[in-house]
Symmetry: D2
Subunit: 352 residues, 4 copies
């Protein structure tokens, strides 16, 4: 039975609490939030949990095995460091930290104390991304050519980070998971129309083997779009995350199958070949991720979304900021990857 | 009565012939194509027109007042030069020329001989772009913040140019028309997966006053997308050119209207404010453009899509190529614009 | 402070509990469900409420002012009768009762004891239906011509009623609300492919003044559709309830505006005139309805979704069954309507 | 070489001319239209064809082997009769005739003179309907449960028939083709809001083996909808004819596959199973149909869309009118079917 403390219970925190609470081998024992209004709301929603506005109660508690850190990114480093120093495993929101230096220090600290860090790259646990991973790994798409993502909406509220740090970590963690390699070059372009921070930006990442990734993030879009295309030599897929029933569509035709005659017909034809929309598992992603965290803590195996995965995302975010400032491309060094634990399957046994 | 000769009658040529032929003050007298198969097809389709495979017949004909050049871009310069030297006005496909030097020479030649050049930026004459122009010019959107266009499809047939030269001129001519200024910086990124030419690319253009434009062009997309967003301080619009009935949607909310309370509600809300889809005129764009060409030839006024407009597009295309090769941003010099003729209204009197 | 008891806490019950519980002048004091598993789940979810599997505890409690009956339709009559006899107001799921005779008896009983009955026609409190009601009442659409609704999905689980009783009450209550009159004729057609009960059916209702309503309900549809068109002399609207952002679209053109020229153009045109998608209020419908129930109990005014409104819906459902069996149209007698209380506005003050 | 005459060249006629003209073994020799404006337009479009406003020129010509009748339905009988009496095969627009008696007389006459009648049920030759036919005949859907079609748009111009005669023949001919049996019962409901003829109507057809068909036709719809669902025991399909790229979607789940557990999950799930959108052949339907007409005339085999197929559709239309007038169901007698010729494949050799 793992005993969990949670710091931060605003927008996302209640989801974290709920999904850990339903696991049979986890007990959420304490929640901390600085906002007294949040404390009172959370108390009535989770009456059996100790809710407090004093973070010391939680951090110092010897009863607590792991901390979930669900606060703004600027606070991740200090909170995670303190949790690790107090011998607690850490589950932390994305992006992992505000700088690569912070991430590296936390990874080193966790390794030294033999503790786990899991970065909440929730999208990796969605049915859609798991299906895409399965199609890519199984070779259905053939060698990858590109990943092109549009992730835009109206998001005009106060932010402590620019739109890249807010929205791009989703795609960056998915790319890291799908491609299993780091980009060699990062180019970012963007505009800051309102308060000095970029509210719209375009990231282009050059990966090994000619794979190109492009991420369009924008807080000034009148409509919400979550559309990703993944093109391979054999097949291509479109992932529309706002589509309730057919999130993923796989198209029969790829880039190497075009004869001259087919090419001519394409001028008047919308597409050739069949399309196939595989069933996508609907288990809540955060529930699977909580299960995975508990499994990794129990087994001691590293999760694939560990501190190093978090660091790889922060490294690209930092490079993107640098590219924006310098208006030029930024080269990244290669890195190496250790073994990670397998993801739990979609249907897990829960406590009710 | 203007007498028109047409060079090139493959994919787009028949549309040019048909739309000039229905104008009451125009007579299509000769069509030239090097492909004998095309010559025979065109002859049976337009039995009253002189169809030939010998370009000299057309170029030297003293009967002909103007030439429509509907051939690959690599041939535009030589054909247009010859037509101008023979005293003929020129209607030429986009992109205008293969280099800025060619465009400048042709403009100079036409000015010297007091002849018109019109570059076939057809999209400027569509109901959709005319409605967007009206909304932008009328101030409905407020000062512009961005233009973001996705123009992708499967387009794997033989090309003599890369995907930027093939697809981006549409957006570049629209931007030129809407903004009335040139970009200061051009950044291009792209990938070449098949035959060495870029088959997917991303252009970012920085215009004066913080306006940012982004163009996503791709020949390796499994689905056809023609989606453009234009964001302003007061309102934002979405133009989906594949939508038959509601091509343009205008959203009430812009970027400066967000209170804290509204911002909070936005988290769970898709949008606030009404949406409005104005009726878009359905007159065929090329028909209006043919009308405009005839009017400009008659009046001697410069069209807004004259050689200089064509040059401005070619200048960006050249800069994009340079940016791709150098992997860095390219600065453009500012240019100045002369007066142009007003566009004809949507309902014109045609000969039948 | 109204004290509420709830009978039935399976699929919909928790929503009823939650929405009454957040009202400042309501206290949910007891929940009853026959299923012990439900009792244990609900206990942990609502720890401050007395949860029991013995209905007598609730029905006889003198502490309780009103009962919410959230059970299958076959049990509504007996439960509501018992609640009224024990002096409690009644909030009951749709459809109100299994027969018109039952409905009439309950109405009479409530009137005699001066108690309220509200039938949970939730859709009347959605932003979409409230907006449609506003447009119809304000004359924006002109005199109504038709209401055409498609409400289909896969729904192959065990039912104690046919598809008409399951899905049509939504449209029937909306029609009752919008038109303010009863149909004169009911025609139903349907098929029973699986277990003897109709799993697909078509209802046509003829209202006074030539208004025709058609309802397509189907449990064997591979896709979920919730699409309603409302046509009037001046304008027409389309309500797509599965559309997250633009549920209601109002089209400028109606049925009387067609000139000959416009008619000819319509052949090649998708539509003329603008389209307008008004902002639709997103407050949870059941929250507004709970508010309305409390207001009506406090004021003694009849709600518009009272027992009589419930009866009017049951009367059509009974006629539809009769029409299915006889394969012929069924005439309905006219009825008269008393005064009802105004609906609360979208933004109500809640207890938190 | 078949020599074809065409009567009527308004909206649809030019398509008939064009598609017969490109067949290598057909020569369009004469076109007749009463409207002098049409005569002049058609003359310039088809300069090699004899165009006239005097029908006698065509009917009496001994040079002509077959007549295409592309006029309003009220004139079909007289024109077809005259053509047959003059020894000409007949290709006639849908619906075949204005009454079943007329259809029967024409069939008898053609049989006696050993001439062919083909009724232009164009939809049967579309890639979509051919794919659906293939899926139904191959057993992919299992035994059919229902066919549900919505075919609505603004269609407010002058009509000589009601909306059922205008729009329902498409679905009636498709049903005849797919099911290969006649309905036993016809129920129609409808409304006439403008000029006394039904401008909206609902047809329900009861076929043998419990198959139910429903057709929703409406001239007062603000939006154009062409949506058909076909449900079977094993699979279900959705045909959206306005979708350019994915007209047909086949859903894995049918009506007999539901376990209790799956049923419970369905409440929160949009669908289970994969979806598959087969490639749909894009050859123009009328081109294939012209090919089929020429083949049948050459071989003497009856086409499946012969006069008897036309009669079966007219019989249902007549029954629908009767049902509307009587407001009751109409029973139809069973009929028997002779052998028909196979449809040509999608790729045919054409003359150019």
């Amino acid at each position: 039975m793992l005993k969990l403390g949670v710091v931060g219970c605003g927008y996302w925190g209640p989801n974290v609490v709920r999904n850990f609470a339903i696991q049979p081998d986890c007990h959420v024992v304490a929640i901390c939030d600085k906002n007294p209004k949040v404390v009172s709301q959370v108390s009535s929603r989770f009456p059996s949990v100790n809710v407090t506005s004093d973070e010391n109660n939680v951090m110092r508690s010897t009863e607590i095995d792991a901390m979930a850190i669900v606060t703004p990114v600027s606070t991740h480093y200090a909170l995670a460091k303190r949790a690790l120093e107090n011998g607690k495993h850490v589950f932390v929101e994305k992006p992992f930290t505000a700088t690569t230096a912070q991430a590296e220090e936390l990874i080193e600290l966790a390794d030294r104390k033999n503790l786990q860090i899991m970065v909440d790259h929730t999208f990796l646990f969605t049915g859609a991304v798991r299906k895409i991973k399965e199609l890519v790994d199984g070779g259905a798409l053939g060698p990858l050519y590109y990943y092109d993502s549009t992730r835009v909406n109206l998001g005009l509220f106060q932010h402590d980070v620019n739109v890249i740090w807010d929205l791009a970590p989703h795609d960056l963690s998915i790319l890291d998971h799908l491609i299993g390699a780091e980009p060699e070059l990062v180019v970012a372009a963007g505009g800051a129309h309102l308060n000095g921070m970029e509210d719209m930006a375009y990231l282009t990442l050059y990966f090994p083997h000619g794979i190109i990734a492009h991420i369009n993030v924008n807080w000034l879009s009148p409509v919400k779009v979550r559309l990703t295309m993944v093109g391979g030599q054999r097949k291509m897929l479109v992932w529309n995350d706002l589509e309730p029933a057919e999130k993923i569509k796989v198209y029969d035709k790829g880039a190497d199958v075009m004869t001259k005659q087919a090419a001519y017909e394409r001028r008047v034809s919308y597409r050739s070949g069949d399309m196939w929309a595989p069933r996508v598992e609907e288990t809540e992603a955060l529930q699977l991720e909580a299960r995975y965290f508990l499994d990794c803590v129990a087994s001691g195996e590293k999760p694939f979304n560990d501190g190093r995965a978090g660091l790889r995302v922060v490294r690209i975010l930092e490079a993107a900021d640098k590219s924006l400032r310098r208006r030029s491309e930024i080269a990244l060094p290669a890195s190496r990857r250790p073994e990670v634990a397998p993801m739990p399957s979609g249907s897990v046994q829960l406590a009710v």
